[in-house]
Amino acid sequence: MAYKTIIEDNIDILVAGAGLGGTGAAFEARYWGQDKKIVIAEKANIDRSGAVAQGLYAINCYMGTRFGENNPEDHVRYARIDLMGMVREDLLFDMARHVDSAVHQFEEWGLPLMRNPKTGAYQREGRWQIMIHGESYKPIVAEAAKKSADKVFNRICVTHLLMDESKPNRVAGAVGFNVRTGNYHVFKSKTVIVGAGGASNIYKPRSVGEGAGRVWYAPWSSGSAYGLLIGAGAKMTQMENRIVLARFKDGYGPVGAYFLHLKTYTQNCLGEEYESNWFPALEKMVGKRYLDVEASHLTHRPIPTCLRNHAIVSEVNAGRGPIHMVTMHSFQDPHLEEIGWHNFLGMTVGQAVLWAATDVNPKEENPELTTSEPYVMGSHATACGAWCSGPEDVSPPEYFWGYNRMTTVEGLFGAGDAVGGTPHAFSSGSFTEGRLAAKAACKYIDDGKAEGIRVSAEQINRRKAEVYKPMEHYKIYRNEITAGSVNPNYINPRQGLDRLQKLMDEYAGGVTVSYMTNEKLLHIGLKKMKILEEDLEKIGAENIHELLRAWELKHRHLTSEAVFHHTLFRKETRWPGYYYRGDHMKVDDENWHVLTVSRRDPQTGGYTMEKAPCYHLVDDKAE
């Protein structure tokens, strides 16, 4: 194929994927590496890429220590409760102690943060959330990244990481192709910070046809954070911890501001409060440690997100659906009504489109809620991602190997969705993680850890052949048929995605089985995943756009396979409402109060699983 090979050499820091994590990394890297070569490779256009492309109406992770609101450890405890204990508290504490400095800089750069007129502090939506006019959140942080980077390569789909050939398990850059020109791009770099995204569209969606685009997480979030890291042999953690969201039906519009700020609430089809009916049985299932109904009532201890989902799923399955969001009271206040609409326009315009199309006026009727298909990501109420080192002054020995946010591959760092065990980072926390990774990457280089990296022409050419194989394959077999998309030698990317979604749904606890799976189902699913992997070698791409979709699918497949292995390994139901292991329906703290860690051998494709200790931050005096 006549595509050029374009080599960018002598890079110090390559940022692969420039959403909130990647922009934070590029920005900060310039300060600690003023003479270093910083390059960004972004799949779309950095001004509107990543999960925040559309905008946000809130920053969901802000401590407010400046206003005497919260300390970092308060946020750690909140995230720990919400995730049923399974988090990396060193990474969370570290993120939380830095995050406010990022938010204060956003305000200085021009991001409109709302203020509470009475207190002068930022307008709180909830304990951790502040309200913003964030339509231009992404273009603003993109400006910061562009100012810091030597070069920004837009429209580069990064397919693989390059590995050093002089020292095993050390990164050496990345390769990919330009989605416009088709050219092959090689980035030789001393370090790589993966800022790519989590995965939408790996489970069969509730929608059919066009509506498949109205996923909760962006459709361009193709699990590349995990595809790239798993492909390079980095260890992953908590990949079983997929998330299900309770959202407005079909449009998946956000509910945070509705619950917290507009004080709306839910009820079943009979107009009854239903949630508390399910809690006594649920308390038995998960144990008092995770759901203590009485204590929650008295102390306003939050109920974990997954358990609230469980109540919705159970109520609907008991025949008392749909669940409604009661908006009719709050929306009588014209100010709150306006906020309700602004909330959608700022981050999920599609929900406003849907209510306009279906004449849903929340002042006059209570809109329906539903639980979504599962998503695999690591910055919301879920903690999938790479097993990364924490900071020197916080992390216990099992969590520390020299450089903050470095994966188990040397010189390979993560930020945002890429880092495992750090839920509730959201936009600001992801940006902060990028900053932390960038400082550590500069130190790694300054310490002389990136000397003598060697990448052979053989590796570059081998990857090139692999990258374009779907187009070659298509060309060879296309003319064996008259026309159309049915060919005995290849499947196209959409056909492959349909197969992946169907088997994730049916075997790994998707929406059509009410999030239920078990060991037998997981084994069958894994077998089908292997066969799908073989067929992905025969995927056909008609053009460069389909080549993009083919590689997104391969990254989604690698992500999904990790979800299978982790779900199989953890023999308990840790997060009812996210998924259920029908053969182990309870939380089992005796055996599973641990973090799950996996590694896929890049040579054989075989998986090894291990348990890692789960450390908690405790009050020094209490011991």
Binding site: G110, H133, E143, S207, E210, G211, W341, T358, K443, H616
Partner: protein
Amino acid sequence: MPTFVYMTRCDGCGECVDICPSDIMHIDTTVRRAYNIEPNMCWECYSCVKACPHQAIDVRGYADFAPLGHSVRVKRDEEKGVIAWRIKFRNGEKDMDLLAPITTKPWGKYIPQLRDAPAPTKEQRDSQLLFNEPKYIRFDEGGLHTLESNGLKMVAGVEAY
């Protein structure tokens, strides 16, 4: 089909192609104008709608759940730093205008060039501090939170939960 493009307004300039996060706004080779090549990968994020200099792009809600006859239009003005929305219901009973700020500062002017910032000292490099820290964390004289400063320690196992 989520986004679509009006034939008489589009001049094929390609601004939408350049900005679309999903790579689905392409130029049709016959009519030389933009169109959405993959509606089921469209998030209705409105990036292309906002970027179009001719207001040639609009959104028709997803066919599998959104009936025809609604409208959500937008005009984003970087100079003025505002975004204006108009929402019209299918039944015509609701027609809302909503205005919001998108920035409080002239574009990009208040973002520092870190290459020109005073170089970090060795002490800063060896610390846990990031750029502008500790000042920007709380705007007071205090330092960064540590386990020690906050009276905390890390203990493994369920007993510590």
